[in-house]
């Protein structure tokens, strides 16, 4: 899903986030399977595994290399990473453009890739129902293949039996629960509030609440959109206090996206001071997510950042 990322300034490129995992891309380009396999052994969280899997899968041509690996030494890891690479390859063909600018052939190629990914991944979860990474990717295939809301939820529930606080998987389901993907605001808010409240303090989960409010904002009409963000500020601030602003918070892969979401939520709602907290927390990192709703994502990020922090720092 690195589509178009090359054109972005380095701070905005996802591959530069979490530099400790960047070498997975290099190892994939080098076709060094032993290094990749050993690297996954050393990871200490599902969040890290999720990002590392994207680093591998996002390398163009990774699916060709991983098909060979799967044929040579089939394993849960190789099949899972093949699934992840096929999802990325499919999305590279589809591009991230709006659906009306995507051709029928592009959609067909996406679906072909997603079906192959799904079949690799379902084999993994069948052999090992505790395969968290494969269940996570099966949330993505379910969405792309439009298998339905209840099926996505079933997959999430299977994953949550093993890891009930998987923030990145919860973020994926959050998308599916939006009305644009067949869900409802009611289901969306119920899910994010429940998961944020249930998570141990100091995680990233509070950002799910901010995400839900931003999704609502993006679909609501002018006045209601702005009013909804203002109304939600106390709730989102409290959620942030319990998560990334909690003393026990330690950055883990996913934190940049989480801080960026909080920053966008408060910046769009005109709350410069809380927004500044998150802009500062981001340090040199940046993202175009959410900001690109208002125009050029890079420009908007900088404009709001300057507005909140009172000038470039």
């Amino acid at each position: 899903m690195s589509d178009g990322e090359d054109a972005l300034p380095p701070a905005f490129q996802r591959r530069n986030h979490y530099p400790e995992l960047a070498w997975f891309s290099d190892a994939t380009r080098a076709g060094d399977w032993p290094a990749i396999a050993a690297g996954f052994q050393r990871l200490d969280s599902w969040a890290a595994a999720s990002v590392a899997s994207s680093r591998v899968g996002d390398v163009p041509g990774a699916e060709v290399f991983l098909r060979q690996v799967v044929a040579r030494e089939p394993s849960a890891l190789s099949a899972t990473l093949l699934g992840s690479a096929l999802i990325s390859a499919g999305w590279r063909i589809r591009t991230s453009k709006a659906a009306e600018h995507v051709s029928r052939e592009q959609f067909e190629a996406l679906h072909e890739h997603l079906r192959e990914a799904e079949q690799a991944l379902m084999g993994v979860t069948a052999r090992d129902p505790r395969a968290v990474m494969a269940w996570e990717d099966r949330l993505t295939t379910a969405m792309g293949l439009q298998l339905g809301l209840a099926e996505a939820r079933r997959r999430y529930d299977r994953l949550a039996r093993i890891e009930p606080h998987h923030y990145i998987a919860q973020s994926a389901l959050t998308q599916q629960l939006c009305p644009k993907w067949g869900g409802s605001w009611e289901a969306l808010f119920q899910f994010v509030r429940e998961r944020a409240a249930a998570a141990p303090p100091g995680g990233l989960h509070g950002a799910l609440v901010a995400t839900a409010h931003l999704e609502y904002w993006a679909r609501a009409d002018g006045e209601e959109a702005d009013a909804s963000l203002k109304r939600a500020q106390p709730e989102v601030w409290a959620a942030a206090q319990r998560s990334v602003l909690h003393p026990s918070f330690r950055p883990e892969p996913g934190w940049i996206a989480a801080f960026n979401t909080f920053a966008a939520f408060f910046a769009f709602g005109g709350a410069a001071d809380p927004a500044a907290v998150f802009f500062r927390g981001l340090g040199p990192h940046a993202s175009t997510t959410w900001w690109d709703y208002l125009g050029d994502g890079v420009e908007m990020f900088h404009a709001y950042r300057t507005g909140a922090l009172g000038g470039p720092r």
Binding site: Q119, G123, A126, P129, L147, A150, E151, R154, R155, D157
Partner: protein, 503 residues
């Protein structure tokens, strides 16, 4: 302990049984032996044969299945003798004066029945013949002639094609089976296929998902069926509450293979998850993630059932069927021994075979191509050579009427029925015809739709043998398809022109 003997030349199985005697007379004939255009003729004969005995107050019943028809009764020895004698006498001289009434009884029975998942799956797997026929309407019931009924009875309901079973203290004194003779023992129905590729799927009117598969016959397949049920129940009912009912079944077909069927129901908004859960459960077992504890529990349950003193008696009906197709009668001890030998590896092998041969029924609006299942054919790959007649309201829609059959072609999709592979042609007095091919394909030719000389209709299916034709009663005019775009008020000249153009 099952004893093999003979009553009046009919092979007979006897097993001890506490309480009232239970006995059944089984014939090697069923739906799978019929043709679609005469489907239900066996069922009709079963009803006619029971008419006389039905006057008395017995716990009797008849049952028509795919390859067998059975008459059975629970009662005193005297009742059993009277019942079986009555059935045999009725089969020798059917009360044909009852034919019209029994036709109505069966049509009423049919209209009150809802299709089971097995009925929905059968036509897609086997087509409009053989084992696919239980999934079709009994088109023959309203139209079979008395001669056809008599001929069918003489062919199939004979002494040579029968077996008897008795659960009780032995053959009741004075039991005779005065059946017509001069027939033969019939081989099992041929197993046909309408699926070019498996695993396959189709969508149908079911709230939930269903599956069937062809597996080797034997204890391992029975255990697989039960292990699958445990997996479905755990995942779809216990863990998620997505289904209220999950069920599986294992049965054997007369040709010697086994069939496993599974179903999981769903609330309308949960159907996609039930489909996903069933797909995952089938794959879980097929890749070999089978819990030893599940296999052990199923075997223990099976052992318990076989240890029941009634186990031998309870198996008699099925064993009589086996005997009719030439397979050995198996004692409870033998079945117990095969059950005990079942291993996880054997269940794994069955599970893999089940997935390879599987047919999945998905809810409407869903697919299973994403899971590696191929869509079962819904169109034909061939179009007959012949005259082409456009359908009046759509230039992309036309009939091809040829010497070999008839096709309807809409855009790039075709439905073709070849006369040589025609299972039935329904004909209405208004001229409408519906042809159904062995592969299940349907072509409806309607006088109101065809832009041409209506006389063309009479060429369609003209050479079919009479037993493939079903003359239907007049239709309500609202049921006759009309062009979809309302036409301007017809003027005589215009119609004439149309006719000439199309002719």
């Amino acid at each position: 302990m099952i004893t093999e003997t003979e009553v009046d030349g009919v092979p007979t199985l006897v097993a001890p049984h506490a309480g009232q005697m239970h006995a059944g007379l089984v014939f090697r004939v069923g739906y799978a032996d019929e043709v679609l255009a005469r489907a239900g003729i066996t069922h009709l004969i079963e009803h006619l044969a029971l008419f006389r005995t039905g006057q008395a107050d017995y716990h009797y019943n008849g049952r028509t299945a795919a390859a067998y028809t059975e008459f059975h009764l629970r009662g005193s020895e005297r009742d059993v003798v009277a019942f079986l004698t009555g059935v045999c006498e009725a089969l020798t001289a059917l009360p044909l004066d009852r034919l019209e009434i029994e036709r109505q009884v069966l049509l009423t029975e049919e209209s009150g029945q809802s299709l089971t998942p097995a009925h929905l799956l059968a036509p897609w797997r086997y087509g409009a013949r053989g084992y696919g026929l239980p999934g079709y309407l009994e088109y023959g019931v309203p139209v079979v002639t008395p001669d056809e009924v008599v001929h069918w009875t003489r062919t199939w309901f004979t002494k040579e094609n029968a077996a008897l079973w008795i659960a009780g203290d032995g053959v009741p004194a004075g039991l005779r089976l005065p059946l017509p003779t001069g027939g033969r023992r019939w081989a099992p129905p041929v197993v046909t296929s309408a699926l070019p590729t498996t695993p396959a799927y189709f969508s149908g009117p079911l709230k939930g998902a269903a599956f069937d598969a062809v597996v080797p016959r034997g204890a391992a397949s029975m255990v697989y069926s039960e292990v699958l049920q445990r997996e479905l129940f755990r995942e779809l009912r216990q863990a998620s509450g997505l289904s209220y009912t999950t069920a599986t079944g294992y049965s054997t077909t007369a040709d010697g293979t086994g069939t496993v069927t599974a179903i999981a129901d769903a609330l309308p908004e949960k159907q996609d998850a039930v489909l996903g859960g069933m797909v995952d459960a089938l794959l879980t077992l097929a890749v070999g993630r089978i819990e030893q504890s599940d296999v052990d529990a199923v075997k223990a349950k099976g052992r318990e059932a076989l240890s029941d003193p009634e186990a031998a008696a309870a198996s008699l009906s099925a064993q009589a069927g086996e005997l009719l197709v030439g397979r050995p009668v198996r004692s409870v001890e033998e079945r117990l021994a095969s059950l005990n030998e079942v291993t996880v590896e054997q269940v794994h092998a069955v599970a893999a075979e089940a997935l390879r041969t599987g047919l999945l029924l998905v809810p409407r609006g869903h697919t299973a191509d994403w899971a590696g299942y191929t869509a079962a054919p819904t169109t034909s790959t061939t179009v007959v050579q012949g005259y082409v007649y456009p359908v009046v309201d759509d230039p992309e829609d036309r009939f091809h009427v040829g010497a070999a059959g008839v096709s309807r072609v809409i855009g790039e999709e075709a439905a073709t029925v070849l006369y040589a592979e025609c299972a039935a042609m329904l004909v209405w007095p208004d001229g409408g015809r519906l042809l159904i091919g062995f592969d299940g394909m349907r072509v409806a030719v309607e006088p109101t739709m065809i832009a041409g000389d209506p006389a063309v209709l009479h060429q369609v299916g003209a050479g079919l043998p009479p037993h493939l034709v079903v003359r239907m009663p007049p239709r309500d005019p609202s049921q006759i398809p009309r062009p979809q775009v309302p036409e301007p008020a017809p003027e005589p000249e215009r119609r004439l022109f149309r006719r000439r153009k199309g002719a």
